[in-house]
Protein backbone atom coordinates (compact mmCIF):
# COMPACT_ATOMS: atom_id res chain seq x y z
CA UNK A 1 0.00 0.00 0.00
CA UNK A 2 2.92 2.30 0.54
CA UNK A 3 3.66 4.46 -2.44
CA UNK A 4 0.75 3.00 -4.35
CA UNK A 5 0.17 4.91 -7.55
CA UNK A 6 -3.15 6.65 -7.38
CA UNK A 7 -5.60 5.00 -9.72
CA UNK A 8 -6.44 8.39 -11.16
CA UNK A 9 -2.94 8.76 -12.57
CA UNK A 10 -3.13 5.36 -14.23
CA UNK A 11 -6.46 6.17 -15.76
CA UNK A 12 -5.08 9.42 -17.04
CA UNK A 13 -2.16 7.62 -18.66
CA UNK A 14 -4.24 4.97 -20.34
CA UNK A 15 -6.88 7.54 -21.26
CA UNK A 16 -4.32 8.84 -23.75
CA UNK A 17 -3.43 12.42 -24.59
CA UNK A 18 -6.64 14.28 -23.98
CA UNK A 19 -6.68 13.87 -20.24
CA UNK A 20 -3.02 14.85 -19.91
CA UNK A 21 -3.49 17.87 -22.12
CA UNK A 22 -6.55 18.83 -20.19
CA UNK A 23 -4.73 18.56 -16.87
CA UNK A 24 -1.87 20.65 -18.22
CA UNK A 25 -4.41 23.16 -19.48
CA UNK A 26 -6.14 23.27 -16.10
CA UNK A 27 -2.83 23.77 -14.29
CA UNK A 28 -1.84 26.56 -16.66
CA UNK A 29 -5.17 28.33 -16.41
CA UNK A 30 -5.13 28.11 -12.63
CA UNK A 31 -1.66 29.62 -12.42
CA UNK A 32 -2.29 32.39 -14.90
CA UNK A 33 -5.50 33.29 -13.10
CA UNK A 34 -3.74 33.39 -9.75
CA UNK A 35 -0.84 35.39 -11.16
CA UNK A 36 -3.14 37.96 -12.71
CA UNK A 37 -4.69 38.49 -9.27
CA UNK A 38 -1.25 38.56 -7.69
CA UNK A 39 -0.04 41.30 -10.02
CA UNK A 40 -3.12 43.48 -9.73
CA UNK A 41 -2.53 46.84 -8.05
CA UNK A 42 -3.26 47.00 -4.32
CA UNK A 43 -6.35 49.10 -3.56
CA UNK A 44 -5.64 52.26 -1.56
CA UNK A 45 -8.15 51.35 1.11
CA UNK A 46 -6.05 48.39 2.23
CA UNK A 47 -2.87 50.43 2.44
CA UNK A 48 -4.73 53.14 4.33
CA UNK A 49 -6.20 50.59 6.70
CA UNK A 50 -2.73 49.43 7.70
CA UNK A 51 -1.61 53.01 8.22
CA UNK A 52 -4.59 53.64 10.49
CA UNK A 53 -4.02 50.46 12.49
CA UNK A 54 -0.40 51.44 12.90
CA UNK A 55 -1.32 54.94 14.09
CA UNK A 56 -3.93 53.71 16.54
CA UNK A 57 -1.67 51.12 18.11
CA UNK A 58 1.11 53.68 18.40
CA UNK A 59 -1.20 56.03 20.23
CA UNK A 60 -2.57 53.41 22.59
CA UNK A 61 0.73 51.53 22.96
CA UNK A 62 -0.31 47.87 23.22
CA UNK A 63 2.72 46.44 24.96
CA UNK A 64 4.79 49.46 25.92
CA UNK A 65 3.96 52.09 28.53
CA UNK A 66 4.57 54.60 25.79
CA UNK A 67 0.97 55.72 25.40
CA UNK A 68 0.17 56.04 29.10
CA UNK A 69 1.99 59.29 29.76
CA UNK A 70 -1.12 61.39 30.05
Amino acid sequence: MNRAEPRVAEDAKSGAGLDDRLQAHIGGQLKSMYDSYLNAPIPDRLVELLEKLDEVSRESGPDETRGSDK
Binding site: P6, V8, D11, K31, M33, Y34, A40, V47, S57
Partner: protein, 183 residues
Protein backbone atom coordinates in the same frame (compact mmCIF):
# COMPACT_ATOMS: atom_id res chain seq x y z
CA UNK B 1 10.34 44.34 11.12
CA UNK B 2 7.58 46.87 11.33
CA UNK B 3 4.35 44.81 11.31
CA UNK B 4 2.69 47.30 9.00
CA UNK B 5 5.39 46.82 6.38
CA UNK B 6 5.37 43.09 6.83
CA UNK B 7 1.62 42.81 6.39
CA UNK B 8 1.78 45.15 3.42
CA UNK B 9 4.14 42.74 1.68
CA UNK B 10 1.64 39.93 2.05
CA UNK B 11 -1.32 41.82 0.62
CA UNK B 12 -0.83 40.74 -3.02
CA UNK B 13 -0.80 37.08 -2.00
CA UNK B 14 -3.77 37.51 0.30
CA UNK B 15 -5.73 39.19 -2.48
CA UNK B 16 -4.79 36.50 -4.97
CA UNK B 17 -5.94 33.80 -2.57
CA UNK B 18 -9.15 35.68 -1.76
CA UNK B 19 -9.91 36.41 -5.42
CA UNK B 20 -9.30 32.80 -6.35
CA UNK B 21 -11.65 31.65 -3.62
CA UNK B 22 -14.55 34.01 -4.15
CA UNK B 23 -14.02 35.40 -7.66
CA UNK B 24 -15.10 38.96 -6.94
CA UNK B 25 -12.85 41.92 -6.29
CA UNK B 26 -15.16 43.68 -3.83
CA UNK B 27 -15.65 40.58 -1.72
CA UNK B 28 -12.00 39.65 -1.95
CA UNK B 29 -10.95 43.07 -0.69
CA UNK B 30 -13.45 42.83 2.16
CA UNK B 31 -11.91 39.50 3.09
CA UNK B 32 -8.40 40.92 2.99
CA UNK B 33 -9.48 43.90 5.06
CA UNK B 34 -11.12 41.61 7.59
CA UNK B 35 -8.00 39.47 7.70
CA UNK B 36 -5.69 42.45 8.20
CA UNK B 37 -7.74 43.70 11.13
CA UNK B 38 -7.88 40.28 12.76
CA UNK B 39 -4.19 39.69 12.14
CA UNK B 40 -3.33 43.05 13.65
CA UNK B 41 -5.11 42.27 16.91
CA UNK B 42 -3.60 38.79 17.02
CA UNK B 43 -0.05 39.78 16.10
CA UNK B 44 1.18 38.87 19.57
CA UNK B 45 0.03 35.27 19.02
CA UNK B 46 2.09 34.99 15.83
CA UNK B 47 5.42 33.29 16.45
CA UNK B 48 8.17 35.31 14.86
CA UNK B 49 10.17 33.33 12.35
CA UNK B 50 7.30 31.03 11.41
CA UNK B 51 5.38 31.23 8.17
CA UNK B 52 3.43 34.48 8.20
CA UNK B 53 1.84 33.88 4.81
CA UNK B 54 0.36 30.57 5.97
CA UNK B 55 -0.81 32.23 9.18
CA UNK B 56 -2.54 34.99 7.22
CA UNK B 57 -4.04 32.50 4.75
CA UNK B 58 -5.52 30.60 7.69
CA UNK B 59 -7.21 33.73 9.01
CA UNK B 60 -8.43 34.66 5.54
CA UNK B 61 -9.75 31.20 4.84
CA UNK B 62 -11.71 31.17 8.07
CA UNK B 63 -13.13 34.59 7.24
CA UNK B 64 -14.13 33.26 3.81
CA UNK B 65 -16.05 30.36 5.33
CA UNK B 66 -17.85 32.40 7.93
CA UNK B 67 -18.79 34.86 5.19
CA UNK B 68 -19.99 31.98 3.03
CA UNK B 69 -22.13 30.59 5.83
CA UNK B 70 -23.63 34.00 6.42
CA UNK B 71 -24.40 34.46 2.74
CA UNK B 72 -25.90 30.99 2.43
CA UNK B 73 -28.27 31.84 5.23
CA UNK B 74 -29.15 35.13 3.60
CA UNK B 75 -29.61 33.99 0.03
CA UNK B 76 -30.21 30.34 -0.71
CA UNK B 77 -29.04 30.47 -4.32
CA UNK B 78 -26.04 32.72 -3.73
CA UNK B 79 -23.79 30.33 -5.64
CA UNK B 80 -25.90 30.41 -8.77
CA UNK B 81 -26.18 34.16 -8.61
CA UNK B 82 -22.43 34.45 -8.16
CA UNK B 83 -21.67 32.28 -11.17
CA UNK B 84 -24.05 34.33 -13.29
CA UNK B 85 -22.46 37.58 -12.17
CA UNK B 86 -19.04 36.24 -12.96
CA UNK B 87 -20.02 35.24 -16.44
CA UNK B 88 -21.23 38.71 -17.31
CA UNK B 89 -18.91 40.94 -15.28
CA UNK B 90 -15.27 40.70 -16.20
CA UNK B 91 -13.17 42.21 -13.46
CA UNK B 92 -10.81 45.08 -14.07
CA UNK B 93 -7.85 42.73 -14.03
CA UNK B 94 -7.54 42.89 -17.78
CA UNK B 95 -7.77 40.02 -20.19
CA UNK B 96 -10.31 37.47 -19.11
CA UNK B 97 -9.81 34.56 -21.45
CA UNK B 98 -9.81 32.32 -18.41
CA UNK B 99 -13.44 33.19 -17.68
CA UNK B 100 -14.59 29.69 -18.72
CA UNK B 101 -12.06 28.35 -16.32
CA UNK B 102 -13.25 30.73 -13.63
CA UNK B 103 -16.83 29.55 -14.03
CA UNK B 104 -15.70 25.93 -13.92
CA UNK B 105 -13.65 26.63 -10.80
CA UNK B 106 -16.70 28.05 -9.09
CA UNK B 107 -18.63 24.85 -9.68
CA UNK B 108 -16.26 23.08 -7.29
CA UNK B 109 -17.22 22.66 -3.65
CA UNK B 110 -15.27 25.27 -1.64
CA UNK B 111 -13.08 22.71 0.13
CA UNK B 112 -11.89 21.30 -3.20
CA UNK B 113 -11.45 24.76 -4.73
CA UNK B 114 -9.39 25.93 -1.79
CA UNK B 115 -7.15 22.84 -1.84
CA UNK B 116 -6.56 23.17 -5.57
CA UNK B 117 -5.69 26.88 -5.29
CA UNK B 118 -3.29 26.35 -2.40
CA UNK B 119 -1.46 23.46 -4.05
CA UNK B 120 -1.79 24.32 -7.72
CA UNK B 121 -1.28 28.08 -7.65
CA UNK B 122 -0.18 29.62 -4.36
CA UNK B 123 2.89 27.46 -4.00
CA UNK B 124 1.98 26.08 -0.58
CA UNK B 125 3.20 22.62 0.32
CA UNK B 126 0.74 19.86 1.17
CA UNK B 127 1.74 20.23 4.81
CA UNK B 128 1.11 23.96 4.80
CA UNK B 129 -2.20 23.49 3.01
CA UNK B 130 -3.25 20.88 5.56
CA UNK B 131 -2.50 23.29 8.37
CA UNK B 132 -4.35 26.14 6.67
CA UNK B 133 -7.41 23.97 5.99
CA UNK B 134 -7.19 22.30 9.38
CA UNK B 135 -7.25 18.79 7.94
CA UNK B 136 -4.94 15.85 7.24
CA UNK B 137 -2.38 15.92 4.42
CA UNK B 138 -4.16 12.96 2.82
CA UNK B 139 -7.40 14.90 2.83
CA UNK B 140 -5.74 17.78 0.97
CA UNK B 141 -4.40 15.32 -1.60
CA UNK B 142 -7.76 13.71 -2.22
CA UNK B 143 -9.48 17.09 -2.47
CA UNK B 144 -6.94 18.25 -5.05
CA UNK B 145 -7.41 15.06 -7.03
CA UNK B 146 -11.16 15.32 -6.96
CA UNK B 147 -10.97 18.99 -7.94
CA UNK B 148 -8.77 18.16 -10.95
CA UNK B 149 -11.01 15.34 -12.06
CA UNK B 150 -14.10 17.44 -11.76
CA UNK B 151 -12.59 20.38 -13.63
CA UNK B 152 -11.43 18.03 -16.37
CA UNK B 153 -14.94 16.73 -16.63
CA UNK B 154 -16.52 20.18 -16.82
CA UNK B 155 -13.92 21.64 -19.17
CA UNK B 156 -13.71 18.63 -21.49
CA UNK B 157 -17.44 18.76 -22.00
CA UNK B 158 -17.18 22.46 -22.72
CA UNK B 159 -14.28 22.16 -25.13
CA UNK B 160 -15.96 19.27 -26.92
CA UNK B 161 -19.00 21.47 -27.42
CA UNK B 162 -16.78 24.30 -28.58
CA UNK B 163 -14.62 22.43 -31.07
CA UNK B 164 -17.30 20.09 -32.27
CA UNK B 165 -17.50 16.36 -31.86
CA UNK B 166 -14.53 14.75 -33.55
CA UNK B 167 -12.62 11.61 -32.83
CA UNK B 168 -9.94 13.27 -30.71
CA UNK B 169 -12.05 15.28 -28.35
CA UNK B 170 -14.72 13.07 -26.94
CA UNK B 171 -15.66 14.07 -23.45
CA UNK B 172 -14.38 11.71 -20.85
CA UNK B 173 -17.26 10.85 -18.63
CA UNK B 174 -16.23 8.57 -15.86
CA UNK B 175 -18.43 6.58 -13.58
CA UNK B 176 -17.70 9.32 -11.05
CA UNK B 177 -19.57 11.90 -13.00
CA UNK B 178 -22.53 13.18 -11.12
CA UNK B 179 -25.08 15.82 -11.85
CA UNK B 180 -23.24 19.07 -11.83
CA UNK B 181 -25.48 21.18 -9.69
CA UNK B 182 -26.11 19.13 -6.62
CA UNK B 183 -26.34 22.25 -4.45
Amino acid sequence: MNPRKELLEHIPNMRAFAMSLCGRADRADDLVQDTLMKAWTKLDTFEAGTNMRAWLFTILRNAFYSDLRKRKREVEDADGAMAATLATHPEQDGHMDFSDFRVALDTLPPDQREALILIGASGMSYEEAAEICDCAVGTVKSRVNRARMRLAEVLSIESAAEFGPDSTSQPIVTSQSTTRSVA
